[in-house]
Subunit: 469 residues, 2 copies
């Protein structure tokens, strides 16, 4: 029954194995049936005993056949209905990608938040850093799992950078490097739940939707706290039983308001009074245009209530996938214990390259250059839009970062109107309702300006003026 | 009271800002006190009005001072106790690193599971792939967030690879690329909890400790199911109310047993009967030495009960941080909905390089080469150890992957004894008790052989023979 083709590229033993397997699957060989003895089948097929042995061993390894030493090979009892064809009728909605240009090729200016101008990424210096890592460390770079919390030299770099740039006081032991804010926050929330029995969360409303989603996946007590023009409302926060609150005090996401020092202190006091924690996401703090960056909450916290977060997505590139966490000292041992068996989630090559990028001064150089460039874009955009937009428009959240908000004050235009009207002029701006939890004013759109080139700014502003006139 | 130094590298406005800020922090300027009018202070200090404006604006931005238009600048009410020195007394236990050589320099052979031989990583071809991505795509590679579930070309590569290598039938839409098994499993468990109300888990005992930890962080119902010599005990599993079970059927981790086809079908039947899911972690399936790989559970699943997981950590390098998930079709839309706002966690450069590595055939070449090399190491090690080790030793879990287990049958040696005795001979083997949940036999150590070079194998075996004689 078994036919073989010695000229086939498939090894003979595999042909025999496949053939018998199929016979079993098709019920042509029944349970407990004995297979031909090795020598007999070998003689029949004019192949070596070893070839048959190999085929039988594979059948045994997979459980199709049982070998009773001294007796022979017997077919196992197998439910052959499992071998019937799969039903492939389900359809999957195509994944949403960031590549919306596919659907609309008329967009001339895509003002998406988070995107940078490819020409402004420091390709040459990043290549240099990658090459350094590949050339001098390739021998060991790829051989093992990296340190769980990140490459120690890079953690040292980040600690030093944060001290200078943001007044953050920490040792590199307090730093955990991770691929994204939500992966790091997930770890923090799990830590606080496990060791501090904390599972009531507060988040700014409007706020960073992914973080809210992360919180709601871990707890059903997530409080949405209104944002005033000085940031999260501490009065509203105090009325909840939340023990952890996520804030973006330096440039509230998405509204862009800044929390003044007095309120920062009140927020710290809230954490002390409630034995709670503040997760401070300082996501774009390197980028300030009209004043110096405001000291981080972490830098004025005397009581280890602040868990500090940052990312290189805005400062370098969102495609790097590198962020970091600064834990209060008293949580470090517990973090280490809880995630003892976990491995880092960042490729070693990236981490080592980034270390070279810090060490060479290229990062600082890049930050200086980007800061200047973004300030130019920001200032021209604001200036021209203020001149050109109708009187019922307000520009909010300016002064830092890579985005601001256009707000229609009169109720004449909804965010859908604003999005569609801009699109007709070839400009894509983004609705903000996804950042509102519950009812939302529906009168704001978001403008990300990092990807614009300075030459295009006048054109963009004129198009928006036409759209909203 | 304000003194400035025009020759200092610190801009004058910053000196003024710092000076006033410190006075407020030190209570030298009280709440509601009016600051000197801009023109007066400018005249006093012999600087321009603009310099004072800049300093005041920064103080306003940070909330130290309030500007009442038409009236002037007033000190805000601030709790100055926050500016006192931090207490830095807590000590942090140094982080555990994989770099245990620091503590013990006598180790000649470190048989750590998961580590590979740096000389066997395809440095040249990986560099080539990185260069291709950097040279041809740098312009766009770094400019935005990548597709949430991974680079689409790479997902296509993985789908094709899995079909050929493991019989896994899926479209690239079903694939999610992630940095590690536990990040991906966390997403799966959260998905099943949210959409299927499933939060009872089962895991092999002994089993992969990090996954058990991940499960127990999300639910307090985690059942440890004993492993027999055909894998997880379905009888024990059936006695629980677990709805999701995590298994490593192709090479049980860490014991190395293989689940035969009949039992695979029974496990699938268990999932059907219980409306449950099987998470199949096929972590080292590319590496089989004495038989072909056994078809994956996913490949014989007719009912979309299997969530398939794999990683390139064993096949290429643990330092890449690339793994993948194959979702059953009916869960794809729900996954997309739940994680709609999330971003990929893998750097774009790595993903594009890996795509080139697949496309050029370099990955397949590497897998063939590695497979041969590892088989050599595996076969020699097993052969020599069988000859040299005392009669009360058994070698288990052989035939695939990058590790096996040494078991002391007589009770003469505990895992601590085995570890210490080997260490005295310069060989580091690893205890297995971390993989046992609850009571554990304490008679096994784990030997990872991927990092060994073939020339060293005889020496390693002789040292182990001396250690355990």
């Amino acid at each position: 029954m078994i036919s073989i083709n010695k000229k086939s590229p498939t090894p003979v033993y595999e042909q025999i194995y496949e053939s018998i397997k199929n016979e079993i699957a098709n019920n042509q060989r029944k349970a407990n049936e004995k297979l031909p003895p090795i020598r007999l089948l070998a003689a029949d097929l004019m192949v070596s005993n070893n070839t048959i042995k190999q085929a039988y061993s594979q059948l045994v390894a997979e459980g199709y056949v049982n070998n009773i030493p001294g007796s022979g090979y017997y077919v196992e009892k197998i439910d052959t209905s499992f071998f019937k064809k799969k039903n492939n009728s389900d359809t999957i909605t195509p994944l949403q990608t960031n590549n919306y240009e596919k659907n609309n090729i008329q967009i001339k200016y895509n003002l998406e938040y988070g995107t940078i101008n490819p020409l402004e990424f420091p390709v040459k210096n990043w290549k240099k850093a990658i090459d350094l890592a590949l050339n001098y460390e390739a021998a060991t770079l790829f051989s093992k799992y990296g340190d769980r919390d990140g490459y120690d030299c890079l953690r040292q770099d980040i600690a030093e950078h944060l001290f200078v740039a943001r007044g953050v006081k920490c040792s590199s032991d307090q730093i955990v490097i991770g691929p994204s804010t939500y992966v790091l926050i997930t770890q923090v929330l799990i830590l606080l739940k496990k060791y501090k029995s904390i599972n009531t969360y507060a988040i700014e409303n409007p706020g960073y939707d992914t973080i809210r989603e992360t919180m709601s996946l871990l707890s059903n007590k997530v409080y949405d706290i209104p944002v005033t023009n000085t940031g999260i409302s501490i009065r509203a926060l105090s009325k909840t039983d939340a023990k952890v609150t996520y804030v973006t005090p330096s440039h509230q996401f998405p509204l862009g308001v800044v929390m003044p020092i007095g309120k920062r202190q009140k927020l710290l006091q809230w954490a002390i009074d409630n034995n709670g924690y503040i997760i401070e996401d300082d996501y774009d703090s390197e980028l300030r245009y009209n004043s110096q960056p405001i000291p981080s909450l972490q830098s004025i916290d005397q009581n280890e209530r602040v868990i500090y977060l940052g990312t290189l997505s805005k400062a370098i590139s969102p495609a790097l996938r590198i962020g970091y966490l600064v834990l209060p000292k008293h949580l470090c041992n517990e973090f280490n214990e809880l995630f003892n068996t976990f491995n880092t989630n960042i490729p070693e090559l990236e981490q080592h390259a980034l270390h070279y990028f810090f060490e060479s001064g290229d990062l600082e150089k890049h930050l200086r250059k980007t800061g200047k460039l973004y300030k130019q874009k920001h200032d021209s955009l604001i200036k021209e839009l203020k001149e050109l937009l109708p009187k019922d428009f307000e520009i909010i959240g300016t002064g830092g970062g890579t985005h601001f908000i256009l707000k229609n004050l009169s109720g004449r235009l909804t965010e859908e109107n604003m999005t569609m009207l801009a699109l007709k002029q070839g400009v894509k701006v983004y609705p903000t309702s996804r950042y509102y939890f519950g009812t939302q004013p529906n009168n704001k759109v978001m403008v990300g300006f990092a990807s614009l080139s300075t030459e295009d700014i006048s054109d963009v502003c004129q198009r928006l003026a036409v759209a909203y006139k």
